[in-house]
Symmetry: C2
Subunit: 362 residues, 2 copies
């Protein structure tokens, strides 16, 4: 397959690396000569030539989202035999603009959204494994041909991702809930920390770190994403605002009286609703959330201690399903919480205790 | 030291275990005979006797927070030679009530808040290492004697925690910001997931999991904590509500026009403020956030693979500073992000590559 990638940032260069390693012929284009030479230097593909349009089978548009629709239209002209796809993380906005152009060849356009991590950006962070095992949403339009949809689905498979076909509306509703809403909430929460005295932050625990991790994000990229999906994100913020108002009212009542039952019950109902919501998130591998035995191990912060722990777990012949490290504030120790099959919990606890690890099973 | 622990839940039983293992003489009391026998059976102490009051050096009140103040007052009477402390997670509420009683012996009362994880509760989850390396806030009142404050500070040290002396107001302001506010926000966010279609949740990634992890919490315990610290939590929710309203206004503007510059800039400023806030959270061991080299390794989900990886890291002689596992939705693979000293990053990347790990350094 001859693939042309337009935009040599994190996603474009990573796609180039993945496709090159699968034996495809990848050419790269970018308005920035520097980004282009970085991506080419990493082995993500060769530089595009002025005359390559006729030979291309698939074009992937991986530009910033505000120019995606225009670039898709230009590529439909430039590469008359190619299927065109794009990787913008909001689909309706791009697809509506492309279809409104009314230009010939719209049957060759299929949208896509490879859901890969974006904490880092740019070609230097490119990674051919970026898409492996991740959802890769394929979004055909009302004009897309079956061949075009199949070619984009194959792209997902070639880079190791899991193709999921959705309409633009379904996709944009889904990411508003599971990606854009948490980003806004985490950013607003983290912004509050700007006014907190330094001494107070010394009491920060894992809960604060987890809830604010994604707040460390690229402001312009996220502003563009939120703007493109504005009505759907807003639809989630309205009920959030109502429940926040309810919390404030309950707290106001609590401030005037000693544990007023109705207000305490109201606060408990808000926490309970959160527990019910979090229980709906699918567990590992998309299956239902599964109960694991949790083994908590006290790990001195010395070179090699964590490696020694995992080596011991390996020797015990137990598969680690998950691991979480928690650092104690202001002390040279950490707690490792290891999740394992419940049937193996007792055995691993005994095994580690015998090797003098300080360990407790939860 | 003869220590009496009133309330044999997670905190009381864990304190009993930690103090017993340090050679102290611990007696346990609880209104629930079942909780008492569970905690005693774990080795957290012996059952309290009716006549022990005279002999006790230190009483730790570890009851539910709504009865803490009453129990502290009763213990001041019962144990005339003892220092009394409590572990309620909001201090002003308890201390104001105790001082208002005006009873004799108030110089023997000092508040405390051992900041240990509370995702699980009850004596069965007790753990003598629960406090190790954690902040243990000691809160003297205006009446507390120096001896009493020293005895509670020593308690913190005996259980392996890091004593931090604060006033009740300082403490309650701090936990409102770093603990209570994130709990409310995470719960309100997770509650929104109740209305999301199941297919949408298939696109859930690590960001959603992290931001909602603490939403899985005990509703009555948290309602009581929030009610006790109501004015201070409310003081954070008011500006949060204003910034949420600003986000909604920007999104409304974006819905009516194509990337309106002022609204996009407003959204970018909200994300930027979040980045600035999160940058203030102290890093590992209470120090400034430190840059580590991050090595991302693709780990097949087979028994022993993660253990094999950590064994290889151990053989490379590199100390792991942090580790994060990310599971791909709907696929049998995971990504391990290992943070190491920047000076060791290249060496570890090469070492793991030679052992045929699929690895990229960020």
């Amino acid at each position: 397959m001859r693939v042309r990638v337009v935009g040599a940032g994190l996603l474009g260069a990573s796609l180039g690396l993945a496709l090159t390693s699968e034996g495809h012929d990848v050419s790269l284009d970018d308005t920035s000569p520097l980004a282009l030479s970085l991506a080419a230097g990493l082995g993500a593909g060769t530089r595009a030539t002025a005359t390559e349009g006729e030979e291309i089978d698939l074009v992937v548009v991986a530009t910033p989202p505000d120019v995606t629709a225009d670039v898709v239209c230009a590529e439909l002209d430039r590469c008359p035999g190619a299927v065109i796809t794009d990787v913008a993380s909001v689909k309706s906005h791009v697809i509506d603009t492309v279809l409104a152009s009314g230009q010939p060849g719209l049957e060759r356009f299929v949208g896509a959204h490879p859901m890969a991590g974006k904490e880092r950006s740019g070609a230097p962070n490119a990674d051919g494994d970026l898409f492996r095992g991740r959802p890769f949403v394929v979004v055909p339009t009302e004009h897309s041909s079956r061949t075009a949809t199949e070619r984009v689905t194959n792209l997902a498979v070639e880079v190791g991702a899991m193709p999921i076909i959705m309409s633009a509306a379904e996709h944009d509703d889904a990411v508003a809930a599971v990606s854009h809403l948490p980003q806004v909430v985490s950013s607003l929460l983290a912004a509050r920390l700007q006014d907190v005295p330094e001494g107070a932050l010394d009491l920060s625990g894992q809960g604060l770190r987890d809830t604010t991790r994604i707040a460390k994000s690229d402001p312009m990229l996220w502003a563009t994403i939120l703007a493109a999906n504005a009505p759907r994100v807003r639809a989630h913020l309205a009920p959030l605002q109502r429940s926040l108002q309810a919390a404030i009212s309950y707290l106001d009542t609590c401030a005037t009286s000693h544990y007023p039952p109705a207000a305490v019950a109201g606060l408990a109902a808000l926490i309970e609703a959160g527990s019910a919501g979090v229980a709906r998130i699918p567990g590992k591998h998309g299956g239902a959330q599964r109960a694991y035995a949790e083994i908590v191990v006290y790990v001195p912060d010395r070179p090699g201690e964590l490696a020694r722990l995992f080596a011991d777990v390996g020797e015990a012949g137990v598969n680690i399903e998950d691991v979480r490290l928690e650092h104690a504030a202001a002390a040279a120790v950490g707690l490792a919480t290891i999740s394992v099959d419940p049937a193996a919990g007792d055995r691993l606890t005994d095994y580690l205790s015998e090797r003098e690890w300080s360990v407790v099973q939860r």
